[in-house]
Assembly symmetry: C2
Homo-oligomer: 235 residues x 2
DNA sequence: AAAAACAACTTGTAAATACAAGTTAAAAAA
DNA sequence: TTTTTTAACTTGTATTTACAAGTTGTTTTT
């Protein structure tokens, strides 16, 4: 029944509490020993949970002091964006599906190397345009291998997170990835899509996301309007 | 004498081996139990070392199989903690010091919040221009607090990694950080500095690096010519 | 009153141990 | 020969225990 490891459960609990605001920014989490007592687990297990929170940038730890809550900015998928004008979190996030998921063959000159299984399975293609405060900021093109995904082309993606659907309906979880970033001059189409001002460049991101399923990687090309927002990251 | 924790030593050994080419890409590292035997430490310690390698993107692990070597990319890896010199390979990387380290007061409207100690200590300022294959790609402006750094203004930084000097001479190690990325239109000065083609935008990065010393953070503003190279990162 | 020492916290590192779960190849059965 | 089972690996999770080291507030000493 309980397939989820204990450290993961504690991680989810603390994560939820931090995001929901149980702790304010700068607050100390309960000490490791307290967490041990409350959740009935040993310190290494508790520490494992805290380490994953550190990796997510949700807390920092300080020897002799404790675990300090860090409230990151709201993120889109794995990337985080932060407003440059106001340091506050992103308010409205809307998603338009420009191309509903369709089954295709992999494009020629695909920038990433594919495994044999991925190559044979063909790919699912979709395009999205994402808004912050009713302004388009994100245009992304996604390729996923056509395995483990029954009926995905019939699903509604409107205003839903792709990652959320993959996790909830297909038990696919992102575990990491690699990405390349560049600054590029937008095409005319892009300029219209993202409502770009004349001369405004865009951030170009190419990413490969690794999942818990072998031979199932998500490939995304992202164009980001960094006029009013920035890509934010912890490491 | 032994101030360095064991897991860290093993990490350094394996990291060096991977980078120097003892293992080819895709090779398996010795199993955790083998590493235990060879280096005379227990599995939790070995696993701690391997976890840090995973975090650096140098290996991936697979249950039942082993630790797979992942060779960092040839691109410039400033998204990872590793300094730029080590990621690109010192051969193709040259550094010009445009502004030798000088003691200044912190600028007005500094984009990051400073601790009291940092504020009081004043800052050390330097500018560098970094070349790959004799082409300028990187212009960076650095602010460090003026603590823990005796005689730094007398040091030669020519063709040396800032991080290496901080580590070797001052025992300061980068432990993480946060950054913001944008695509921006370059100023005339920048266009000349980075030999930019007309219309070529630049990648703008603002970063705060946390170190092992409390109240000692490195603040950098980076302009990156992404025409021929890209910023690369694992997560 | 100010400084030093101490005690009671906190997280960091490390050992020894156990079992679960995924992978692989050899051995056994069909 | 082909398929199935098994055994021997691998990493993943978890407990228990111990001491080191940084932080903070209290107590003692000066």
């Amino acid at each position: 029944m309980d397939n989820i490891p204990q450290y993961r459960k504690l991680y989810e609990i603390l994560r939820k509490h931090i995001i929901k605001g149980v702790y304010a920014e700068g607050d100390l989490l309960p000490s490791e020993n307290e967490l041990c007592a409350v959740h009935e687990m040993t310190r290494p297990t508790v520490r494992h949970a805290l380490e994953t929170l550190v990796k997510d940038g949700l807390i920092t730890k300080k020897q002799g002091k404790g675990s300090i809550v860090r409230k990151p900015s709201q993120n889109i998928g794995i990337l985080s964006i932060a407003g440059t004008a106001s340091a506050v979190g992103v308010r409205y996030l809307k998603t338009d599906i420009l191309q509903k998921p369709v089954i295709k063959t992999w494009p020629e000159n695909f920038p990433f190397e594919l495994s044999e299984l991925e190559q044979e399975s063909g790919c699912i293609y979709m395009e999205r345009l994402r808004y912050v405060d009713d302004e388009p900021v994100f245009y992304d093109i996604n390729h996923l291998p056509n395995i483990f995904l029954p009926r995905i082309t019939q699903r509604s993606f409107e205003n839903k997170s792709l990652f959320e659907i993959l996790r909830k309906h297909y038990q696919i979880e992102i575990q990491g990835g690699e990405q390349q970033l560049k600054a590029v001059k937008p095409t005319v189409q892009l300029r219209q899509l993202l409502h770009l001002k004349p001369g405004q460049p865009v951030l170009y991101i190419e990413r490969k996301l690794h999942t818990n399923k072998p031979d199932f990687n998500i490939y995304s090309t992202i164009y980001f309007n960094s006029d009013k927002h920035a890509i934010f990251g912890n490491f």
